[in-house]
């Protein structure tokens, strides 16, 4: 009840994100405890923390790839109340319309060419014509520097190239918020750089982004705020510089020592 009133009092700005009291458990085993996150449009938040912290689970709850057990998710003007027996189909569709997701393993469709990967969702989800979809695909491929690869199948491309195409595929649907689930973890360090460069550009252009990552430089330099998670809880959430250089929580200090001083 209290959550509901709070939501109506301060609706997020157009592309903002507001997550209240998100819980997720598998049977008796809770993997997320009361996770809260509010973001304004254009903000970039990095989520860091040890593996098993629930970072990816949290991200995947935001577009309902995982079903949270309680809490409220508001992205743009779409709100879903978790915990309801079966969330309304239309709500889920809207939630997925305003979010774009990039996966650790790219998950491009291997049977389609690069361009078809980007045009198929546009035509089937937004009902764009083939010509419109092609135009969008070509301009995005230009933007991620892969215009020359549009007729190739994904298997011919490097991991870094595949991930840039996966980003283009998500952007083609004009999401309000981009969710990145360890986008560089499956890549060689050098290939990761080209993906990070694309993400940096996106952030500069004002895209709202939530990035689960082990790239500490990205977390510190590109994101506005950093959220540290461990054991399904948020340990701290604050301006990147402060969290990365002067964390308050002992667990965060330990984690940062482990990743930075190696």
């Amino acid at each position: 009840m209290e959550l509901a009133t709070e939501r109506t009092v301060s609706p997020p700005t157009l592309g903002g994100v507001k997550v209240l009291g998100l819980h997720k458990s598998y049977g008796k085993h809770a993997v997320l405890h009361d996770v809260n996150l509010e973001m304004t449009e254009g903000e970039v938040v990095s989520i860091i923390g040890p593996s098993g912290a629930g970072k990816s689970t949290f991200l995947r709850c935001l577009n309902y790839l995982e079903v949270p057990t309680a809490g409220t998710i508001t992205i743009g003007d779409s709100t879903v109340d978790a915990g309801a027996r079966r969330p309304d189909r239309a709500c889920l569709d809207r939630l997925r319309r305003v979010t774009g997701m990039v996966f650790q393993n790219f998950n491009l469709f291997p049977h389609l060419t690069v361009r078809e990967n980007i045009t198929l969702p546009q035509m089937k989800v937004l009902g764009r014509s083939r010509d419109e979809a092609n135009a969008v695909a070509d301009s995005l491929l230009n933007r991620v520097g892969l215009a020359a690869k549009s007729e190739q199948h994904p298997a011919r491309l490097s991991g870094g190239q595949q991930q840039r195409i996966a980003i283009a595929r998500a952007l083609a649907l004009s999401p309000k918020v981009m969710l990145f689930d360890e986008p560089t973890s499956a890549l060689d360090p050098e290939l990761g750089l080209e993906v990070l460069a694309v993400m940096r550009d996106l952030a500069d252009e004002g895209m709202t982004m939530i990035v689960v990552t082990h790239e500490m430089h990205f977390a510190r330099d590109v994101s506005d705020r950093v959220m540290v998670m461990a054991d399904g809880r948020v340990l701290e959430l604050g301006p990147s510089e402060q969290v990365m250089t002067a964390p308050t929580h002992e667990r965060t200090k330990k984690f940062l020592r482990a990743v930075l001083d190696r």
């Binding site: 577009n63 790839l65 569709d93 997925r96 319309r97 979010t99 774009g100 997701m101 996966f103 393993n105 998950n107 491009l108 469709f109 291997p110 049977h111 198929l120 969702p121 089937k124 989800v125 199948h153 298997a155 011919r156 996966a166 595929r169 998500a170 649907l173």
Partner: protein, 211 residues
């Protein structure tokens, strides 16, 4: 004699083709039920598949051709054999589809879901084309085994290759020749099927798994 036996080839093709087609179509709802989130439906589909496959094809044919008329459902021998083989094919095809679906990484479903694709476009444009590649060799192998099983229809009097060979052998007392001709006819039909399937498979693989 060759002409007489070869005249059964049409019926062999009709029974095999019709049963394969009907079985392939019935297999779709069956595999959907087999993977349903609702456990009673899942149990029903699993039970159907297990039972159908546990009964020998010839027993199915007798059951339908000699058994059903007791309840006033009298089918002619061709229909009875098509019904019987379709039932059997549906169970095998459902399992073949299932193995195809299981071979598709979860990330493919997740990516399609995250992009907002609904069930039908997801199935039609993302999953089926990939599953097709995996299941094609199994489907071809099953088509060939069904082609051979169709010889059982001779036992309920369908005028297919083996039936005609039996007639010819009794009329001429040249059983070796008659059934050799029948065997050659089966080879002539199944080998090209296998060759074509292998070629299509190779082309698909080359197209999809380039790297």
């Amino acid at each position: 004699m060759f002409a007489q036996i070869a005249s059964g080839a049409g019926m062999t093709v009709v029974i095999t083709g019709a049963s394969l087609l009907i079985g392939a179509l019935l297999g779709l709802p069956l595999v959907a039920a087999r993977r349903s989130a609702w456990s009673p439906l899942r149990a029903l589909a699993t039970g159907y598949i297990d039972i159908v496959r546990a009964i020998p094809p010839i027993t199915w044919l007798f059951l339908i051709y000699f058994g059903l008329p007791q309840y006033a459902l009298r089918l002619d021998s061709v229909s009875a054999s098509i019904v019987g083989f379709s039932v059997i094919a549906s169970a095998y095809m459902a399992e073949t589809y299932r193995s195809g679906l299981l071979s598709i990484p979860r990330g493919q479903w997740e990516a399609a879901t995250a992009l907002g694709l609904k069930f039908l476009p997801k199935a039609r444009y993302v999953i089926t084309p990939q599953a097709f590649k995996v299941t094609l060799p199994a489907v071809a192998a099953y088509a060939i085994s069904l082609l051979k099983d169709s010889a059982l229809a001779s036992t309920i009097g369908v005028h297919e290759i083996t039936y005609q060979a039996g007639l010819a052998s009794r009329a001429t007392h040249q059983g070796l020749l008659a059934f050799s001709i029948a065997g050659l006819l089966y080879i002539a039909m199944s080998v090209p099927l296998a060759v074509v399937a292998r070629r299509v498979d190779r082309v698909l693989r080359r197209k999809l798994e380039v790297a």
